[in-house]
């Protein structure tokens, strides 16, 4: 569904009118394409200490011009604020005010990324206040930014450092066009498992080279619900990043599924994921054709909206069966199978409805909140091993599903985010591809919202 307002407001005269009247002025977002320049202008690394210094050195190796202080009048592609040593709310003033100067100089599509430690990991009230304070400040910055710029945070947990391969992977993702519609979000990073650090250094550019063009090369990925919409785009983006894709959808969607599979040079597997033997059939197919299954994206989902007062059993049951029960059953079988890689990645589609609830979607919200619960519990079980599981929660995404929302409601829903527009399926897909990559090895049990900092569920 085309956002005609967005197109219109990005032409000269309507842009002036919108500005005069104070109407929303959504920008065309900076999105990733292979070979992207991470930062055409210098990047500010604000904050003091060894963590900030080390990070600045790594960024230099990424072929980025680095500034440690704002130079008057010089445009910036991004501002990275390193606050890993903040121990009192008083420590925030200098770096935040420096950031204030920087945001005035951000280019359209610019980035603000804050790095700080988890408030849950300190017993000192002042330190916790400082850390939690950064969270609030960065969310506010995200609300204030315009012209398609975003602000996000990386929360360092445990032994994770500012230059841990996963920290760098997350930073690269947030600086890149891949995170165009990720705004006001905080990604928790734990120290990358030691055994994979060497591989990861290459994967994330910590070794001083750029990140590889195809971070998923040689991987095999299963994407459910791949015949249309977000699922088809996930298949496309994973394939672009080098993965061999097994596109899964119900037999009735086989015609579109074949088109998707042929488009990404993958294979089509017609399969109802609610069937008891769904996981076995996937494992059999992947086992025979590719040997190892590296990535599973649980994307298939349905809505059967009704107010709870009018809800019937078929509506409730079918949503639960497809959106969460099938995932639980499949994960159990996958984890028991030697075909599923020891460094396997599971990425599950949640929804902002699962975080905030939504009128008429008690069944859907139960299933999507259920996904979040499942991901957190499974992540705890994975902790310390090579596997990870994460969820991506899309906000308002322009798909066939949201195109059925009545026009006025749809227009309002689009403008409710800080980016004042709906996201595209590719935005969800990019986040999934990042979580599937080696660069996200230390990210586990996270729910990353792709919502343009939507007010709903914030």
């Amino acid at each position: 569904m085309a956002d005609t307002y967005l197109d219109l407001v990005n032409t000269p005269l309507p842009a002036r009118i919108a500005k005069t009247l104070g109407l929303p002025r959504p920008s065309v977002l900076r999105r990733y394409s292979p070979g992207e320049v991470l930062a055409a202008q210098p990047v500010l690394v604000a904050g003091a200490g060894a963590g900030a210094d080390a990070l600045a050195d790594v960024l230099l190796g990424w072929d980025v011009e680095v500034r440690r202080h704002v130079l008057p009048g010089e445009k910036l592609s991004a501002a990275v604020v390193v606050l890993d040593r903040a121990s009192s709310p008083m420590d925030l003033a200098a770096p935040m005010l420096e950031l204030g100067q920087a945001v005035r100089l951000l280019v359209p599509g610019g980035r603000v990324v804050g790095l700080f430690r988890s408030s849950a990991e300190t017993a000192d009230p002042a330190e916790a206040a400082a850390r939690q304070g950064i969270d609030g400040a960065l969310r506010s910055v995200a609300h204030e930014l315009r012209n398609g710029a975003t602000a996000n945070g990386i929360i360092l947990r445990g032994d994770a450092t500012t230059t841990d391969p996963t920290t760098l992977g997350a930073l690269r993702f947030l600086l890149s066009g891949r995170s165009a519609y990720v705004d006001g979000q905080f990604i928790e990073v734990t120290a990358t498992p030691a055994e994979s650090v060497a591989d990861l250094a290459a994967a994330t550019g910590a070794a001083g080279e750029g990140a590889p063009e195809q971070p998923l090369a040689g991987r095999t990925a299963v994407v459910t619900g791949a015949a249309r919409g977000i699922g088809a785009k996930i298949a496309e983006v994973l394939a672009r990043d080098g993965a061999r894709v097994v596109a899964v959808d119900v037999p009735a969607a086989g015609e579109q599924l074949a088109r998707v599979a042929n488009g990404v040079h993958g294979t089509a597997l017609q399969l109802d994921i609610t069937a008891p033997d769904a996981a076995e059939r996937i494992l059999e197919h992947v086992g025979q054709r590719y040997g190892v299954l590296d990535i599973v994206v649980h994307n298939a989902g349905i809505t059967r909206d009704k107010l709870l007062a009018n809800m019937d059993a078929p509506r409730w049951d079918s949503v639960i069966a497809v959106n969460i029960a099938s995932q639980l059953r499949m994960n159990e079988r996958l984890l028991a199978s030697p075909v599923f890689s020891a460094t396997g990645r599971i990425i599950s589609l949640a929804s902002t409805s699962g975080i905030a609830g939504n009128r008429g979607q008690s069944n859907y919200a139960a299933s999507k909140a259920g996904v979040i619960g499942m991901v957190r519990a499974q992540a705890a079980a994975f902790d310390g091993g090579g596997r990870t599981i994460n969820a991506v929660a899309p906000g308002f995404i322009e798909t066939d599903m949201t195109a059925r929302i009545p026009p006025l409601t749809r227009q309002v829903a689009r403008r409710l985010s800080s980016l004042q527009q709906g996201g595209l399926p590719v935005d969800v897909a990019e986040t999934i591809a990042f979580l599937a990559s080696d660069a996200a090895a230390g990210i586990n049990g996270q729910v990353v919202r792709v919502c343009g900092q939507n007010l709903v569920g914030a």
């Binding site: 596109a247 037999p251 599924l257 042929n262 017609q270 025979q288 054709r289 590719y290």
Partner: protein, 437 residues
């Protein structure tokens, strides 16, 4: 003697296997595919196969397919379909036509090439549209138009045009009539059905089994990796899962009404005109292994036969009856050695006449030159996943449907399977498939 016969067959240097298949659901003529051409449907079937096995951009050894009802512009139908598909444009292709045996014959031809080492992989199949059938101008108009193109002066042109008669302007629609007898295929079968004294009840019962077996196959998901939906159709449109002997008994006979015996052939126990396409992926064992592809069944051997239905007294669709004993003898096998029989249901009467003929000692001696009856076929082994009466019969697509379905059945249950397909012109092809294990 049997040993010697056995030795003759296995001379083939390599083994050809069925890797998998794909077809689009079959639609009734004028239904979901009313505006789809043979090329459209063949491309859809190919692209579904490519998607299933990840063959995008691959140069397949050769693709062979055909159509029975074919526009003259489709002289290179299969190659054009390959060019329109996701396969490599460097994949060679050829068209083949042997009426309703087209699909099976493409499998036989390509598997032979694989056995000889000429190709490593092949896609065999067929397509037919009774909806988008070619309509030809009359012979009179055609001659006038050709003469006109050769005429040089205006005077010659006018003179040529003057030879045109009003009756020349009516087009020739295609028929399933036999050119040498003028009888439709149904009327031919009606003669055979009557000669073998096949009852209406027996025919309806066979039709009922076909629908029930096909419905059950869908029910257990048998077709999820054999079929890709097309144009909104997700299962064969002709399938009547809820049909019954009572319902079938209410249908009026349509063929054999001018015979002395009661007419027994109805729309229920005859196949309807159908649109559809089916393809099968074949390969050498080496090809399948190198590409991590499944091997569902081995293609063992095949035999074609033809009968003189014009001057002789054999039925039009009885050629497979003649082909089978020759195939069995060459392979040192008897009917008892088979676990599954796929006998194409052009008409229920065709299947039942064939079974009756093989059971008839006198006929087998006199006509087939055997020592006695060839034997009888356990009905529980016959068309276990339904056949053409339920699925429909897009002429050239039927062979691909049967080969893929039988190969999958053999991969699931093991054993040996026989395929028998009758064809216009008094022809027929039979083939043997064997499970891998």
């Amino acid at each position: 003697m049997a040993d010697q016969a056995g030795a003759q067959t296995t001379a083939s240097p390599r083994t050809a296997v069925v890797i998998g298949g794909n077809r689009i659901p079959f639609a009734r003529s004028g239904g979901a595919y009313a505006y789809s051409s043979n090329k459209d449907m063949l491309i859809a079937a190919l692209d579904g196969l490519v998607a299933r096995f990840g063959l995008q951009g691959e140069r397949i050894g050769e693709v062979a397919a055909g159509a029975v009802l074919k526009h003259s512009r489709d002289f290179n139908l299969t190659r054009e379909a390959v060019l329109g598909s996701a396969l490599s444009a460097e994949t060679p292709a050829y068209d083949l036509q042997q009426a309703c045996a087209t699909g099976l014959e493409t499998v036989v031809g390509l598997s032979n090439k694989i056995k000889l080492g000429q190709i490593e992989s092949g896609i065999a199949g067929g397509v037919d549209s009774a909806s988008d059938a070619p309509i030809a101008v009359s012979e009179g108009l055609r001659r006038v138009l050709l003469d006109l193109s050769r005429a040089k002066t205006t005077q010659q042109k006018l003179k040529t045009l003057a030879t045109l008669r009003p009756k020349d302007l009516s087009p020739n629609a295609p028929t399933t009539g036999e050119p040498r007898t003028g009888l439709s295929m149904g009327e031919h079968q009606a003669l055979t059905t009557a000669a073998w004294e096949i009852t209406r009840e027996a025919q309806d019962e066979l039709a009922l089994h076909s629908h029930r077996n096909l419905a059950a196959a869908y029910e257990r998901g048998f077709f999820t990796d054999l079929m890709t939906p097309y144009r909104g159709l997700t299962r064969d449109a002709n399938l009547r899962a809820d049909t019954s002997l009572e319902k079938l008994a209410t249908l009026k006979p349509v063929f054999g009404k001018s015979l002395d015996t009661p007419a027994t052939m109805t729309a229920g126990n005859s196949t309807p005109l159908t649109d559809g396409a089916a393809v099968v992926l074949l390969g050498s064992e080496e090809y399948a292994t190198a590409n991590n592809l499944p091997m569902l069944a081995t293609i063992v051997d095949a035999e074609a036969a033809a009968v003189d239905f014009v001057h002789g007294d054999e039925g039009l669709l009885m050629a497979p009856v003649h082909a089978l004993p020759r195939l069995l003898e060459r392979n040192g096998l008897t009917l008892e050695d088979f676990d599954f029989f796929e006998i194409h249901e052009a008409f229920a009467g065709t299947v039942l006449s064939s079974l009756a003929a093989w059971e008839d000692a006198a006929y087998c001696k006199r006509v087939l030159g055997l020592d006695g009856a060839l034997g009888s076929i356990d009905r529980a082994k016959l068309n276990v996943n339904g056949s053409s009466l339920a699925a429909g019969h897009p002429f050239a697509a039927t062979g691909g449907r049967i080969v893929a379905s039988l190969a999958k059945t053999l991969s699931e249950q093991g054993g040996r399977g026989l395929i028998s397909v009758c064809a216009a012109g008094g022809q027929g092809v039979v083939a043997i498939l064997e499970a891998r294990n």
